[in-house]
Amino acid sequence: MKQVFIIASKEFKAAFKDRVFLVITALFLLLSIISVYIGSSTKNAEIKAYLDIVALLKAQGATSFPVSPQLFPLAILQNIIDYVSIIGAVLAVFLGFDAFSGERENGTLKLLLVRPLYRDQLVTGKLLGGGLVIGVLLCVTLVFNTLLFSIVSGLTPTFNELSRLLVFITLAFVYMMIFYIVTLFVSIKTGDRTFGFLTMMVVWVFVSFVIPQLADSQRSFAYALNATAQTVTQMPSDTVISKGIEMFSPAVQFQNVGKDLLQVVSETAAMNVFDILSRQVLSLFYMLVPGAIFLLASYRAVQKEDVT
């Protein structure tokens, strides 16, 4: 067990010494901060716009006013969902792409494996180290954003909101870990680290963009007819094909659950956390399956590693 921790702590330290990793980490933090700030000020602008509308109507002598827009506080953080699913995933790739092949290319892998260390311990250590880095990063994001959110919007999060936020951060952790695990697997399997990195970039492009877009192109656009206004509007709706395609993208599943958790969807905005999770249990399942498969595959692959 001690060995595992030694490897983990080495991974952790190495990550924060890597300048490129620091750049992308800074980018991630900066973006999440900008997004909270923009989100809050947009909401403020909307409230101002609403007040303007009411004032305008009053001036015109109206007596009934539109209802104040339903602004759910957590929705201010909604852009973080996109940032985690896009930048967060890349961050995990950056973190893990040379975790194994790096050791191999530098010749340290040989050194490690001649010591009293089981190969699975090596994988566990790497996972623990990577998990620690991602965990710390997400905790910083959580604290930063909750603070900023309270300052800009002047609200203190309630228990329900706080629990949603915690579950969301946990989910984000799991999502990024899935990418880390897959990257680790690729890193074990490929000889060249650049090749491994680029392979992961291709995977990332597919999971985050190509699959969702393919699914999107298969949504049916029913024409909704409004006879009073005599207009025709297109309403997107899921089809079997679009659902089927989406199954293969953890990013889409993460976004589905994330949107529910961060009150983006108004129907679920008032539910408690457990109801949301049980509602989205299928999405969670689809998201976790590839992670589990690659986790097992990584442990298997490392046993076959030829060190001579």
Partner: protein, 322 residues
């Protein structure tokens, strides 16, 4: 000029031996076909829905009918622009990076430069070779699209549509050229090839995702499902009065979007492919005329980066390290 050609030819043969390049290229071409197939299927469904809607509206005596959904199967899927934009960009960055890094790793850069080859000639050769390659890819993708549209979608493209498609592939070529040059420039400026690649990818993230995303976030109407104003039950008149107060906000949002070549590529492509309504009646050249600023926004950064690569390469001494 001769030296340039020799280097260019070498680039092409090298690329065709590169496993990763071939894999991504294969994916790109397969996706092209898949998106046309799915697009064609979707068009059939959409067309049925549309015909029903139109019959209904005509029965109401309406003369102003909603615009016909795009019959062009490729433009039916907005994603098509993105597949090319994304995988193409990735491909371009990889080739750009490899072009310099492989020579440096194998020590051949030293050999080439010890001959009568100017440094800028070397860069030109590299660029020319890769651009030829991308021109080939664009042509291939275009050919595949044209053939599958005819074979699968059963839609005959009119001359205007074909010209629009051709221009779209030209824009895709320019877009890939930008990322190619980005890859080369970073590889020249940053000594460590791996680091250069990572930095190129980060730059791509910022330009292609972060900037457009920030622009999106700042669009007020995007922030509520169904649109902010619709949810307020506002009439158009009232909207207008409220919008007057947000002019500065709009300008800021717009300037952020202007910095992203991806956004420019998207704008001009969507106009060419009729994804964005309002360009149906223009001739292909008129669309380009209207969107010339976007074409400029797509090409100018490439030129600037290229000049920077020239300057960077001229005085680099660590080129001689193996």
């Amino acid at each position: 000029m001769n030296a340039t050609w020799i280097i260019a030819r070498k680039e092409i043969t090298d690329a065709l031996k590169n496993k990763l390049f071939l894999i991504i290229l294969g994916m790109l071409l397969i996706l092209t076909v898949v998106s046309v197939v799915l697009g064609a299927y979707q068009v059939r469904v959409a067309l049925d829905n549309y015909t029903n809607a139109i019959e209904f509206l005509k029965s109401l005596g309406k003369t102003e009918l909603p615009p016909m959904p795009n019959l062009n199967p490729i433009s039916a899927s907005k994603g098509f622009v993105n597949y090319i934009g994304m995988l193409g960009a990735l491909l371009a960055m990889i080739l750009g990076n490899y072009a310099i890094v492989k020579e440096r790793r194998s020590g051949t850069l030293k050999l080439i430069l010890s001959r009568k080859v100017f440094r800028d000639t070397l860069l030109n050769g590299k660029l020319l070779g890769n651009l030829t390659l991308f021109a080939g890819i664009s042509l291939l993708a275009a050919a595949i699209t044209f053939i599958s549209v005819g074979a699968i979608g059963n839609v005959a493209l009119s001359a205007g549509d074909a010209a629009r498609m051709g221009l779209f592939f030209l824009m895709s070529f320019l877009y890939m050229a930008f990322f190619l040059v980005l890859g080369i420039t970073f590889a020249v400026m940053v000594g460590n090839g791996n680091k250069a690649l990572l930095l190129t990818v980060i730059m791509w993230l910022v330009l292609a995702f972060v900037f457009p995303q920030i622009g999106n976030t700042m669009d007020m109407d995007n922030q509520l499902p169904g649109g902010f104003f619709a949810s307020m039950g506002m009439t158009k008149d009232q909207q207008t009065k409220v919008l007057v107060n947000f002019k500065f906000y709009e300008t800021l949002r717009d300037s952020i979007e202007e910095m992203s070549p991806t956004k420019h590529y998207e704008r001009v492509s969507f106009a060419l492919l009729n994804v964005k309504p309002g360009f149906e009646k223009n001739t292909p050249m008129e669309v380009l005329g209207l969107k010339w600023i976007n074409v400029l926004g797509l090409t100018a950064p490439t030129i600037i980066l290229w000049l920077i690569a020239y300057m960077g390469f001229l005085r680099r001494e660590d080129i001689y390290q193996t």
